[in-house]
Amino acid sequence: MDAERIDQIIEPYQGAPDLLIQVLLAIQSECNWLPEAALRKTSEKLQVPMSRILHIATFYKAFSLVPKGRHKVHICTGTACHVRGAPRILHTVQELTGIGAGETDLELKFSVETVNCIGCCALGPVIDVDGKVHGNVSTGDTADILEQYK
């Protein structure tokens, strides 16, 4: 983590505790997680106690207190994908990567998450890897998709 970069992110929000969530979102998108040092800095600059920051960091799904893998595998489990077989896709991804939803493997290769609808219901079931959407996925395709990512 680049301490200077974190300062740059926090700077415009100084003394504005109501914008805490926006600051954390900015840090999350920069670092891919919320490192402790960045949170302490935020606490100091925005004048918000650490306890509240941790409350928010654990309440909202967008935040992670542990580093994430290089590739983010998002399995859509929205209702449309669910009825088209998303649970079986999730099961296959778990079998293949050895990690479940919300987890990251030890080599920091994959982070697997479930998401509630990414709005491509016509393509369901859908897997989104690093922002690229793979549609109409069958259990048989899953291994081929994951193999594309090193």
Partner: protein, 650 residues
Amino acid sequence: MPQLRSPDQLDAFRQELSSSGDADTPCISVCAGTGCLAYGADQVIRAFEAEIGKQGLAATVNTKGTGCPGYCEKGPVVVIYPEEICYLGVKPEDVPEIVTRTIVEKKVVARLVYSDPDSGEQAIRESDIPFYKHQERFLLSSNTRIDSKSIDDYLAIGGYTALSKALFRMTAVEVVEEVKKSNLRGRGGGGFPAGRKWEGSRDAPEEVKYVLVNADEGDPGAFMDRALLEGNPHSILEGLIIGGYAIGAHEGYVYVRQEYPLAVENIALAIRHAEEYGLLGENILGSGFDFKVMVHQGAGAFVCGESTALMTALEGRAGEPRPKYVRSNVKGLWNRPSVLNNVETWANVPLIINKGADWFTGYGTEGSKGTKIFSLVGKIANTGLVEVPMGITLRDIVYKIGGGIPGGKKFKAVQTGGPSGGCIPERLLDLEVGFDELTEAGSMMGSGGMIVMDEDTCMVDVARYFLHFLSDESCGKCVPCREGLRQMDRILKNITEGKGQDGDIETLEDLSELAMDASLCALGKSAPNPLLSTLRYFRDEYEAHIKEKRCPSLLCKDLVKYYIDPEKCSACLICLRKCPEGGVVGAKNMIHVIDHEKCTSCGVCFDVCPDRFDAVVKYSGEPVPPPIPEEQRMIDRKKKKDHEQSPSAN
């Protein structure tokens, strides 16, 4: 960059915009919504730009990436104006042909237009396609006509006329009265009349008030608000400014999910453009009315779609709801009067101001007026966004617009209202769509998700899915929701795993009653709806799971066993290779059998078995036949080939 300081300047500028664009200039609009982008629409747009440059047409043809036209099933969708020719499923390699044939020679590329799956009849114009023909698209129709990143496009089609009318030709009271008269009800789920909400805020004594846009569209399987925000952000902004004027607020917030990056980008851009043009900020159009808008990104919590939780989140805290002894339109954000409406509700406001409440009430039923956008998804032939007048029957939506169920399967239910809604069975398909009608049937309007389910969908699994979702999203503040939903989820999970017991249904009903009576906010109060509605209409499925340990839809993993039919298996090795557990035993020329010690019932073998063999069979509630003895597994190819060829030789 013009700073517009009076309504006359706005009109003059609009004149200038529409006269500069010749109506006959061809315009290629390519859907750049999330669904079409996933199909590769960005490559199609680039291909058009390249091809038009190559053919030297850049000066005379306009290419636009627009918002979602709704027909996601057939993406990427390309519409060519002024003829309104609609091409479906366009690929980059089709582009040169389209440019040469349609743009230059003014002819239609027949293979890319809609053709009816049954009759083969073709429809060239968008409005002739059955999917669109039965809709009333007041909100969505602008999406394909404008570049969502251009305020000029929005102005050219009459944007901000409603704002100018409200500011200069109507008093704030008249605006509220007009909205009240239109009986516009909240599109986010509750269906509370917007006009009454506005009136309460306007009459509240506090000086500082707020207007808020709820764009925290968290319902799984719903993306109406996103399509509007991405495709036509100015329509929402215009509605919001009018709302601010009506209740006397000078600040507005748009609360939008960070999971919708394009929506965040487009609304932020729209705000910046409106400020530059003098349509936002101080002294809007010289009227003396000041108004500013901020964007706040949500960080991923379903409960933040609830009004009080959303306001808490806007204040920078964890989004937990509070009891509503005093309504938030009187004491809301920072304890000040705050009008919170859904994206779609705000988008309706400019239409009502422009065309009048009487026009709006001309559509719909007694209690529900105007149109509603639904996202029609699931087991349906035409997935997409549909905007229909209230009062249309579910049957018309599913069959006339949606094109029925694909793959010759049988319709089972349609789920409306998201996780707080319920499942409506086939016998109620003639139900008219409206707030009160759907509530009576045990479901609700919700924000507009409409998920179609066929015979392969297990209703117990659907109920478990929603309860699991809600128990996961419960903020944990009140006990009935936090603990009650968790127990309900656990019991339902047991039932789907074949561990259901007598009395489970009764316990679920008790817990439902408690959650509905005692939860703090609508999340807990409405959480039992998916369970109760499926119990009401599909009780037999629950009983089959509990008593016979059988899943009638052959879906619940723990109740289904797979079996390879030796008569049909051709020993093609596909399932053997794809099985992640190594649970298929066999070899070349040797009929495959499943080793049930290793099988996890993942269903890969069922999915990959080619249709021409169709050898993998599911069993539930009955024993799987024993595998055929090893000595009978060899296939004599020659014999089999002769056998297969004999019928065709006849």
